[in-house]
Amino acid sequence: MALSREQIAKRVAMELQDGYYVNLGIGIPTLVANYVPDGIEVMLQSENGLLGMGPYPSADQVDADMINAGKETVTAATGAAIFSSAESFAMIRGGHVDLTVLGAFEVDQNGNIASWMIPKKLVKGMGGAMDLVAGAKNIICTMTHANKHGESKLLTECSLPLTGVGCINKVITDLALLEIKDGAFHLLERAPGVSVDEIIAKTQGKLIVSGDVPEMTFS
């Protein structure tokens, strides 16, 4: 069965390593913070200028001067640092963030990503997404495998205007975990109960399936 948003987040969280500095995008990526494995510490970077984002505040802790990149009120974790947006993107652009997790409209077999602009629809802007995909060493893209019309979002070539070129290493969808390398999606894991055939059917880009593909586990 296709994974829920929470299950996608849970699987992403298993990619975390102790001591990682991580930037989580809006949507499913945000949920990853709820599933950090036991015994592991990560520090969340928020691109407005916060390293060490804590949980949401209690009602009486809410402070208009303490927000995250999603403009939500947050707290600072113990050992946090706060700095300017220029410094924040110096970190991001300079490759100091260990892992970035973000959503997308489309990803293609060359690691290109489209996530910000749908022609003829109103474009709100790319925010920090272009900097994140250009700067991160290690990027996981979370998305549904196909759109609501059943059309694949894992493509030979992105059809929408790009956010970044050749930057996505790994995609975790509701159906599968795939690595992108050498111009192809490599199927590494499938969601419990989802068949390899379904994944093949819903992947428009070049897909490499080698041997038995294990089911995901979540711990």
Partner: protein, 235 residues
Amino acid sequence: MAGFDKVVTSYSEAMAGLEDGMTVIAGGFGLCGIPEGLIAQIKRQGTRDLTVVSNNCGVDGFGLGVLLEDKQISKMVASYVGENALFEQQLLNGELEVELTPQGTLAEKMRAGGAGIPAFYTATGVGTPVADGKETRNINGRDYLLEPSITGDFAIVKAWKADRYGNCIYRHTAMNFNPMAATAGKITVLEVEKIVEPGELEPSQIHTPGIYIDRVIKGEFEKRIEKVTTKQENQ
């Protein structure tokens, strides 16, 4: 004003010299850390045909959004502008031009502008619509875009505490784009919550040195919150 005392007591003094057609760089991220009183003064003055450079353009009825009400902004340079209906409408009507700029590139363009660096290379935006019309150059095996810096006729900045010389500190994440904006204005106006005497701020803890600041005014802040999220609601 004498010597280094940059404190002014009226908003009209604070924004004196702002004229139609000028470029204004504004600090703030969403509604966090915005110079509320300086924005209100621009609305009051009715200055028109402004190019405004800021990460966002406020919301309907607050922040930079109020400058849309009388169509005072003709061009907006920002990374994300989706929070107000009026913006959308003026954009679709062709009354407002928008130059979308990646957030990190925008921050760096302001910093570079203030630091006398006319242009820099960044990998951000290579192969995307942002690259249209820009030089792409391969450096050490990777492609980069040449991005020109930004300066403004005015910069409007919000800090927490400043001394009379304009040395200031920001509070929490209300820092955001303010330090870079402060450096990039021909005239930089700082609106603060508290004015202290020179010497009260520890020299090595000052975020923006007074050399960048031309005028300081004490403001009153509503500090509207865009998205109140709390533990109870979410966990």
